[in-house]
Amino acid sequence: MDLMIPTEESALRRPLLSRVADSLYWMSRYVERAEHVARGLRITTNLLMDVGDLPDELYDRQWLSLLSLVGATLPDSPGDVGSRVTRTLSFDAGCNGSLVSSIANARENARAVRSEISAEMWETINAAYWTIRSDEARQKFEEQPEEFYTSIINVSMLFQGQTEETLPQSQRWMFVRLAKALERIDMTCRIVQARLDAFEEVEDALDAPLRTIQWMSTIRMCCGIEAYRRRFMADFDPLKVAGFIILEETFPRSIRFNVSEALDAISRIRKLTTPETIDPAERVLGRLDADLDYADLSEIARVGFREYLKSVQSRVHEAGVLVQQTYFLK
């Protein structure tokens, strides 16, 4: 029998198993999640070296705030708060959202769709899995923690780059991209909230340089320090920082940018699967996208960042649930 070469159209329309879409989605979310947790750990480690002597309470609070990135609690283990938090968030397999469990979950999902992703993507996530479980990883964590965290961040960066460069832009790619954007929005909301937890109440008591350092590390945790400086130079005014993280149109890690990414991905998925309908997740994201397009920073400030981010987060969460209902539970 002759094998037909599918046309571009039919290649795009090639069916995608719901279970596969589900696994691609979670694979992508876990990779993105690991990156944020690793960056949070790296920046905090670095920050606490910079600030010098802080009151114990404030010092611990910086660490504790990180636990909220994954909704974890402080374990009952010996040692100071800092090492308990870093150990849990790095290596505790029982802690959902720790680096080791996110990488393992990403790999487990990738393994279930091994035939749907590229060899490059698979080998990156598979190698990361074996690496983080090795003694060398532990040693690096003890000796050069920043380097250890950077290696995890680079796994995500490499994986996402490989996704862009090797995966055809079919439904598979769109689900990966959708998941990445949704996870990034959620994690960004959590990071800003965690930073507010870490120093909001005591902000007034901090001297000016410390305040600047706190806001700088917030933008650092969103991987935006250079982009921010190019936009506002060294002015780390809280309003500007928050505005940048939420609304900056061209910054690939801002909330607005990723809402529009997610919206684009879901509407393309919908066009390929059920072109005549309006997808419920698309509706939620479309409205949020419009809100952000016409948002006014001073209005956001009046509502309060915390409140505003909470509402963004819950709308994005709703979109995620709707995606699952529409595409994965068929």
Binding site: R13, P15, S18, R111, S115, A127, T273, K330
Partner: protein, 480 residues
């Protein structure tokens, strides 16, 4: 590293006599002899890392920890001459042709039973005989589309068929991956030889599957049905899906409606026309077979019997690779093809026969006893190694259920040099091997040149199964 190589008295694939390689092994021996241990070790690590990185692992289940292991890979290639392969290939084509005719006959006219070539009791007593298949015309009369036939070489240098795996034979992904790795770690050695390519296997498999598509399907949707990620052969299932560019589905992805099979996709239901199922009959359809199976698809058998979905291999092929039926394959060849078998069977005693059983019970210490419905090296007695108690236990089992046992003389499998690492010291030692070629029956019969050479890596062991500590090596069939 060949200095202390011991020929041990069995057939050695590489050496005719101490220090004297068979002509087709001479170039390989020369190159391997020139390597020092360090550089060989480096290549070995390179191969292992490649397997780990690609996730070519199988899972070993122990108490709490599931350990992922690689299938040990032995870097010394097994080489088969074109002349020898020609015999093997013709023998295998002959054998699969007869086996397919046998399946068709058994599920339709049963001439071979009426003519008393095979005792009907043996067929009806076979666990894998499927009454559901009687009278059902499978697409294009092919039952066994993918077969893995295990060959061993005896002390006389003759290849014997040890068994046919006509249900869901595995291992072909290792054959293809072993080749890729060999080319990478031993490019020069590979270049010294004209090795027949095996890389077209996925395409041949795809064509074999397309060949049986239901006639209503113009552009058939073909999928592999896997038990899932926790199955020990999952890597192979996903590998083949990737190589062929088809979907890899689990039971939960499929459903049957109006006797058609559909998969659940993001765009709704999508019809599936051909399933290459890597699931035993028992698990295929809880409505027809084991009701507790969560791996299968309720209603699949009905869709199959309506001709709306094709299955490879067909349901019920287990009757052909039942160990109690195996002794009759040479008779099948004579009966259906009017030919003499090209590849002989290993002499086999069928315990269901009174005279055979008597002989078996009297000679348990010289025989290998196998349960007819087990595979993977389970349910076996190696008479000469077993204790008196173990032998007595088996004698009892045989008397209780003679149909369930066969016995064979111990085949002294041929040996092949393997790289053995003992305490960091590397040398070549002879290890027993077998060979599993893969045979595809579609439009025509295609035998993959080579196949999986399995190695019993434990010294003196005759058991090559991966579940029993076996490894594998690349198998080279020469162009001429």
């Amino acid at each position: 590293m060949f200095e202390s190589y011991d020929l041990t008295g069995v057939f050695d694939e590489m050496f005719e006599a101490p220090g004297a390689p068979r002509p087709h092994y001479a170039p390989a021996l020369e190159r391997l002899s020139r390597l020092d241990a360090t550089s060989f070790q480096r290549r070995r690590r390179m191969a292992d890392v490649t397997f780990v990185n690609q996730g070519i692992t199988f899972t070993v289940y122990s108490d709490k920890l599931n350990v992922e292991r690689i299938f040990p890979f032995d870097l010394v290639p097994r080489i088969i001459t074109a002349r020898e392969w020609d015999i093997i290939e013709r023998g295998l084509v002959q054998r699969i042709t007869a086996l397919n005719l046998f399946c068709k006959d058994i599920y339709h006219d049963q001439r071979i039973l009426t003519d008393r070539v095979i005792d009907p009791a043996l067929i009806y007593g076979a666990k894998m005989f499927r009454r559901e298949m009687i009278g059902f015309p499978v697409p294009r009369d092919i039952y066994i589309h993918i077969c893995g036939t295990d060959l061993v070489r005896g002390g006389d240098g003759q290849y014997y068929v040890l068994e046919d795996n006509g249900r869901t034979p595995s291992g072909v992904s290792y054959v293809l991956e072993n080749r890729t790795v060999m080319k990478k770690v031993f490019p020069q050695l590979f270049d010294d030889y004209q090795v027949r390519a095996i890389e077209d296997y996925p395409l041949n498999l795809l064509n074999t599957l397309s060949h049986i598509a239901p006639r209503h399907a113009d552009n058939p949707t073909i999928a592999i049905l896997t038990p899932g990620i926790y199955n020990s052969a999952y890597f192979e299932h996903s590998f083949l899906a990737r190589q062929m560019g088809i979907e890899l589905v689990e039971g939960q992805d499929l459903l049957v409606e109006n006797n058609f099979v559909y998969m659940r996709t993001t765009a709704g239901l999508r019809r599936v026309d051909v399933l290459y199922r890597r699931l035993d009959d028992d698990f295929l359809d809880p409505l027809s077979f084991r009701p507790d199976s969560l791996l299968g698809v309720p209603g699949l058998m009905n869709a199959y019997r309506m001709g709306n979905v094709s299955l490879a291999n067909a349901v019920g092929t287990g009757v052909a690779d039942d160990k109690a039926i195996y002794p009759f394959v040479p008779d099948m060849i004579r009966y259906y093809l009017k030919q003499e078998p090209i590849l002989p069977n290993v002499p086999t005693y069928v315990c269901a026969r009174d005279t055979d059983r008597k002989f078996v019970l009297e000679n348990l210490d010289k025989l290998v006893v196998k349960a007819t419905n087990e595979s993977g090296g389970y349910g076996m007695l190696m008479g000469h190694q077993a204790t008196q108690t173990e032998r007595e236990k088996f004698a009892e089992l045989i008397r209780e259920d003679p149909r369930n046992y066969i016995a064979q003389p111990i085949v002294e499998l041929s040996q092949h040099p393997s790289a053995i690492d003992e305490g960091g010291k590397l040398r070549f030692e002879g290890r027993r091997i077998d060979l599993r070629p893969y045979i595809l029956s579609g439009d025509k019969v295609i035998v993959m040149p080579g196949g999986l050479t399995r190695v019993a890596l434990r010294r003196g062991s005759l058991v090559v199964n991966s579940s029993q500590g076996g490894g594998s090596k690349d198998t080279w069939v020469l162009e001429e």
